[in-house]
């Protein structure tokens, strides 16, 4: 498992189990994934799912007209 994949694993595991998961635990999970094809398939598919949504739902700016209407409703001036 390369460095980038390890970071993605840590990201997913921490989100699932808590931000306090330490590096040793992440190493244990990584080791298990290398030895267990079923878990690896499951993990890879979840990792790709999250990644796909991060790309497809990436942030867009507020359309100009929407922004204009917002400031009008709020009676504020843009600056």
């Amino acid at each position: 498992m390369n460095k980038r994949h390890k970071e993605e694993l840590a990201d997913l595991v921490k989100a699932q189990l808590g931000e306090d998961m330490d590096a040793d635990f992440i190493d244990e999970v990584a080791k298990h994934l290398e030895e267990c094809p079923d878990c690896k398939i499951c993990y890879d598919s979840v990792r790709q799912t999250v990644k796909l949504y991060r790309v497809s739902e990436s942030e867009t700016g507020v359309p100009d007209q929407v922004s204009e209407r917002l400031f009008k409703v709020l009676s504020l001036k843009t600056h």
Binding site: V50, L74, H79
Partner: protein, 200 residues
């Protein structure tokens, strides 16, 4: 800008806004309107409703800003307003449509049974219309309270604690909902992608 200095700047703007400084208020709206608009788009799934969420959130922010005590970061407080506005609108729509979801997804059965290997670089196909449609369909089908957790945790990158505070649920509940949301999306996506033979 580092997180601490961003929070410090927000604190100054909020204090000025509380004292009636409209320029400070405008700055807060300018700074956070893209975040709230995207939050609205991600939860509501269409531009018209996202705009409603945007306007209602900032109207509430202006009305309530004097009650903000700084117990949490300003953006967490604002996200809480935005998320509640969005979820409230969904509840309202369901009421109007006389729609009651009796048969929600059976999360007990989401275990990835029969799951096959997903090819690497699936994201290469993301610009293709049919692929985007698969992603959209799966997300549209995800129940609202799971979608809210997925959006806050995996798309907005908020911490478990922040998501729990915004949704007024326990951190354990955030973790459970996040796991279920991810597995639901994975399974729905697998189903759609199998139909169009992107995966075996």
């Amino acid at each position: 800008m580092k997180k601490d200095s961003a929070i410090e700047l927000d604190t100054k703007l909020v204090e000025s806004a509380k004292n009636g400084d409209k320029v400070a208020l405008s700055e807060l709206v300018t700074k956070y309107s893209p975040k709230i608009y995207n939050l609205g788009m991600r939860i509501m799934r269409n531009q018209e409703d996202a705009e409603d969420v945007l306007q209602e959130t900032f109207l509430k922010m202006i009305n309530k800003i004097k009650t903000f005590r700084g117990d949490s970061a300003f953006y967490t407080w604002l996200y809480r307003i935005g998320t509640n506005v969005a979820l409230g609108k969904i509840r309202e729509k369901k009421h109007i449509d006389n729609f009651v979801s009796v048969d929600g997804p059976d999360f007990e059965n989401i275990k990835g049974a029969g799951l096959s290997h997903w090819p690497d670089h699936l994201d290469d196909q993301i610009e293709k219309d049919f692929f985007r449609e698969c992603l959209k369909k799966a997300m549209d089908d995800l129940p609202d309270h799971y979608r809210a957790v997925f959006v806050l945790r995996d798309l907005e990158n908020l911490s478990t604690r922040e998501a729990a505070s915004i949704l007024n649920i326990s951190e354990a509940n955030v973790k459970v909902r996040l796991m279920r949301a991810r597995l639901f999306l994975r399974d729905q996506l697998a189903h759609h992608l199998r139909c169009i033979e992107v995966i075996a």
